[in-house]
């Protein structure tokens, strides 16, 4: 805990540990995400029925589309929880910096989605008989960078969409168009690693650029969005 506060600052660390503890006790987000991702795996495997060669080609796409859809479930709950009892309003009038709240929320979502991926990846491998022909270790930076790309934008857009009517449907409508380059990079990088035909380096660099650009943009604009009245 003290290490965490040293790294992030007290407020971010407190919010993060609160969110993780809440999730640990209720397991709302992780359970619904897991089941959702499982359904995606099963339905895709029925609808495509691929052989080993084909599945290597399409698995990158299936995995990331599944994770993106599942992540939306967790992202939708990020801020909705703070609306009850006017927690967000309390935060708005407090002198605490808005960015620590944003960082804590984004990191919390990052942890949840990473746990989901760690649990679902073996299932994907089982269902689609996957074996990486390229350098398999590259999948780890791809997964981490890709997850951060989804989560940092998702957390930001979730904060935008709580200010709209029908907020649950608004988040994917905002998130998906903006994440197209990140999704493309994740899918192509994963496919390159699985098929081993090309190097995934360009796509990893693109993911890094995407992460840097949108993390900075979110930190710049989050305060405006939080205080938008």
């Amino acid at each position: 805990m003290s290490l965490l506060s040293g790294l992030l600052g007290n407020i971010a660390a407190a919010t993060l540990s609160k969110d993780v503890r809440l999730e640990w006790r209720s397991k709302d987000a992780i359970n619904s995400m897991l089941f959702f991702a499982l359904l995606v795996v099963v339905i895709f495997s029925f609808s495509f029925d691929p052989n080993a060669e084909e599945s290597r080609r399409i698995a990158g796409g299936l995995i990331w589309v599944g994770f993106l859809f599942a992540a939306v479930v967790a992202l939708n709950q990020t801020w909705a929880r703070e609306l009850r009892n006017q927690v967000l309003d309390a935060y708005r009038v407090s002198p605490a910096p808005a960015n620590s709240l944003f960082l804590a929320k984004a990191l919390g979502n990052f942890i949840f989605v990473c746990v989901l991926e760690a649990l679902m990846a073996p299932l994907f491998i089982l269902f689609y008989n996957l074996r990486a022909l390229g350098p398999g270790w590259q999948l780890i930076p791809i997964a981490l960078l890709g997850t951060w790309a989804i989560v940092v934008n998702g957390t930001f857009f979730a904060a935008l969409s709580i200010r709209t009517r029908s907020r649950e449907i608004m988040l994917p409508l905002l998130l998906f168009p903006i994440s197209i380059p990140a999704l493309l990079a994740m899918v192509e990088a994963t496919t390159d690693v699985l098929s081993g035909e090309y190097s995934a380096r360009f796509w990893i660099a693109l993911l890094m650029a995407y992460d840097v650009v949108f993390t900075i943009a979110s930190l710049f604009l989050f305060e405006t969005v939080l205080h938008a009245e």
């Binding site: 935008l160 200010r163 709209t164 409508l173 905002l174 168009p177 380059p181 693109l206 995407y210 969005v225």
Partner: protein, 287 residues
């Protein structure tokens, strides 16, 4: 200003009809593609118009956020000037790839500065959000025209309606998707907060465009290379007709934006008046 509008509308109508005549009859027929190529005059002029409108939307969104505060306004002004100057200098210093002219990069840098300060001069901080709505809506319309005329041309010439993975096609489609989501956000958000969150989304969208472009550029591209500038060759007569069409389309866009902008301002005035009236009437109704 009000009296100018019909005059401007008349000029636009005249220009559009002349441009139509030139595009369908005046311009020479292309050797290999035949008459199908004539859709090019609409496709390219709509595309340029749409991109300019989206860029104005981006500028207006930034200005909406920074002009609330004097110091951030001043900082942004200097950043814009610095970016423009750096672009101009870099155009002549950095070694550019074949087919890109130094002067075109430099003039882009200058026109960005000019556009930023033109918008800043013409629109007050409160009205700049109305400009953002207007340009986004009209831009989406022009972008839709681009996305419809593209496949109409591609089917007879390429043999396919749509080339997945082509950089200009896909970037334009993603741009269109981003701006449709922008309009949806504006439609669905609660009125008081709309401008700020919409401006945030517009900035995110603008940051996304270069990333989309590079990510798709990594695939092989099928779209004909731009024929304007160093890379390709175009009959001077065709170029003349294209520029004429672009002028006509830009005038048309300005005209629609003008009308839409006035409507938006009027709508806001009505809303304000209604809100004020309800505030004034409340004590009476309680009594």
């Amino acid at each position: 200003m009000k009296r100018l509008f019909p005059i401007f509308a008349f000029i636009t109508a005249a220009l559009l009809s002349f441009a139509l005549y030139e595009a369908l009859i005046g311009a020479p027929t292309e050797q290999t593609m035949g008459d199908v190529q004539r859709i090019f005059y609409y496709h390219v002029s709509s595309a340029w118009t749409a991109f300019i409108l989206f860029f104005i939307n981006f500028v207006a969104s930034i200005q909406y956020l920074v002009r609330k505060n004097d110091s951030s306004d001043r900082i942004t002004n200097w950043i814009v000037i610095a970016l423009g100057v750096i672009t101009c200098i870099a155009a002549y210093v950095v070694h550019l790839p074949q087919g890109i002219e130094k002067s075109s990069i430099a003039s882009t840098g200058i026109s960005v500065i000019a556009l930023y300060f033109l918008v800043r001069k013409l629109f007050s901080p409160d009205n700049v959000d109305a400009l953002a709505v207007t340009t986004a809506e009209v831009g989406v319309v022009f972008c839709t025209v681009v996305l419809i005329t593209g496949p109409l041309w591609a089917r007879p010439v390429w043999g396919i309606w749509w080339a997945v993975g082509d950089v200009r096609l896909t970037s334009t489609l993603v741009l269109w998707l981003i701006y449709v989501s922008y309009l949806l956000l504006r439609k669905f958000s609660n009125s008081g907060q709309t401008p700020k969150i919409a401006a945030a989304l517009a900035i995110f969208g603008a940051l996304d465009v270069p990333l989309v472009y590079f990510s798709i550029w990594f695939f092989r591209t099928q779209h004909p290379q731009p024929v304007i500038g160093d890379g390709g060759e175009i009959d001077p007569r065709m170029l003349h007709v294209l520029l004429l069409n672009w002028l006509a389309f830009s005038c048309f866009a300005v005209m629609i934006c003008w009308a839409r902008y006035r409507l938006e301002i009027l709508k806001r005035e009505v809303e304000e008046t209604l809100a004020l009236e309800s505030l004034l009437e409340e004590p009476r109704s309680i009594r």
